[in-house]
Amino acid sequence: MANRDCLLAVECLSVDFETRRGSHTAIESVCLDVHAGETVAIVGESGSGKSVTSLAIMGLIRKPGVIRSGKVNFNGMDLLALSSCQRRQYLGRDITMIFQEPTVSLNPSFTVGYQISEVLKLHLKMKRTECRKRALELLHEVGISDSLRCFKSYPHQLSGGMNQRVMIAMAISCKPSLLIADEPTTALDVTVQAQTLALLRQLQKNNGMGMIFITHDLSLVPDIAHRVLVMYAGQIVENCSIDVLFTGPLHPYTEALLKSLPAHHDKQGERLSTITGTPPRAGETITGCHFHGRCSYARERCKESAPKLIAALPDDPRLVRCFYPLAANSKTSAGRP
């Protein structure tokens, strides 16, 4: 799986959470790679481990979370093997991150301009006036017209959409090669969400960044990503390119997710498909396939042994964690018109 051309190659990353009641696995053997200029979406419901994955890549997992195993190869070097001091040189410069709640992700005690300048000063050793000039440029770059006014504002004076633009300006300030966006539009209004997605897409294209886009909303994925990883209960269950996702998902969970999207439903009044049951709770031990309890295709084998994430067909780049992947060519009702 480790590919030399990869910008980021995550190998078998596992994170446990150790609580008083014992430890439980948050993510298990997560493997993913991101090439330069590529956007990879990680999709999953709440609690599926998608945010933990992003934090683990950044080395920002804190107690009670513990990285149990795995490698995070960034430009050929293992970030997890570095000391925290060494790793910090890359954070905020080469790998940056934006978060779900932009307003609370900015420090309320400092102006927006100061917080952007801080990154420039830290990583690019810029002087104060240079910082200011560059920060204003960056604000303009993310589509804020009166950038000076924004520069002097505190986060609480700006709207959520505006603060997310500030976060993005901060994230692209050192021309990173990888941007991790953790549910960046979930807290925003739909129109603002569309603008933010467009902005991210534009910046990613222009700067040739690699991007990991984390979301719970599968319908956003075609607008932003080239490839999608579907996560369920701490595992990646499917890894495929966008083009094939909507025509024929391989994993039953992906299919079920697609079918439950109201956006992919045209007939008024017709019932949506649902996934019965609930995802396993944190700490619950499951034997076999993690999805078998809710899978409409589950057979005996699914309950007993756990499938691996493997290529579905010999000459197919898609990976799926299922013993009985849905045939690539079979028709599913989730397909877009």
């Binding site: 008083r20 019965t276 049951g277 609930t278």
Partner: protein, 297 residues
């Protein structure tokens, strides 16, 4: 939707049971609780435990040191005071004053404070403004000073001191209740309850109070320790219980002059106060952790 029953195996605990389990996991808080229980028990059964009456004088054993020092006398485990009274017995009877008064004071200020605070929070407008200004005024006068003035006017007695301390502690309950009521009253579950037709006192007692009980309970334990400290301080200043009442603060003040010759007469009552206050603060901290939902995350 047959499998909507994924919580089948879960025991149904009431919220209080759950808090108790959380509190039980906190060993230090439980230690505080146990110490407090022991103190309460010994206060209740003081006549059975104590070897002497609290005011019984043994003229032949004035200022006898406690058992670990040289010259200690049998029968006086913790020594005697300047009038030959048994320290242990006096301390045991003294616990009755401190603990009983602590409970009584907290109960009075809790009940009146919650009532006034809830009134301020639910009525708002002019009622609220007047109540808040009044509480501001009370808080602007340092607690002991206010108590001293009240006692000075009403006269020095244990009852007046207790009244004074209740008044001093009142504003905290008022403020906490009002703040909690205001923060809760616009929450969805209260709105939903209103839409279910619950209003007035029913809304306060059935919906609001159970949900704001956590900060009130924590404040009550903290107030309990404050009450004990304040009562002792007033006793120490001669404005609370009057000798020969074996109240701990009064014990301290009467034996102050023997600090050089008989240090135990000073150290022991103070230690008793410290242990009691410490135990209830430990319990209070534990309760705060157990009841504060934010700690869960």
């Amino acid at each position: 939707m047959s499998n909507a029953t994924s919580v089948e195996d879960v025991d149904v605990l009431t919220p209080w049971q759950e808090n108790w389990y959380k509190l039980r996991a906190n060993k230090i808080a439980i230690a505080g609780l146990i110490v407090l229980m022991m103190l309460i028990t010994s206060a209740i059964f003081a006549p059975l435990i104590a070897s002497h009456a609290p005011n019984e004088q043994f003229i032949d054993s004035l200022l006898a040191p406690p058992f670990w020092s040289e010259g200690s006398k049998a029968g006086f485990v913790l020594g005697t005071d300047d009038l030959g009274r048994d320290m242990l017995s006096r301390l045991l009877y003294g616990a009755r004053y401190s603990l009983f008064l602590g409970f009584a004071i907290v109960l009075i200020s809790l009940v009146t404070g919650v009532a006034i605070g809830a009134l301020a929070g639910m009525k708002q407008g002019i009622t609220e403004t007047v109540i808040l200004r009044l509480m501001d005024i009370m808080l602007a006068i340092p607690a002991i000073l206010l108590a001293i003035v009240i006692v000075a006017i009403l006269g020095a007695s244990l009852f007046n001191a207790a009244m004074a301390v209740s008044i001093v502690l009142l504003p905290h309950f008022v403020r906490i209740t009002r703040a909690a009521v205001i923060s809760e009253i616009n929450k969805d579950y209260v709105l939903a309850s209103r839409l279910d037709g619950t209003r007035g006192w029913k809304l306060l007692f059935r919906t609001l109070l159970p949900n704001i009980s956590a900060p009130l309970i924590v404040q009550a334990t903290l107030s309990f320790s404050n009450a004990i400290l304040d009562i002792a301080a007033l006793g120490f200043l001669g404005l609370g219980a009057q000798p020969p009442t074996p109240e701990w603060g009064t014990l301290l003040s009467t034996s102050r002059e023997f600090i050089e010759t008989a240090p135990w007469t000073v150290t022991l009552p103070g230690l008793a106060i410290l242990i009691t206050v410490l135990a209830s603060n430990l319990l209070g901290d534990g309760l705060r952790d157990a009841l504060d939902p934010r700690i869960d995350q």
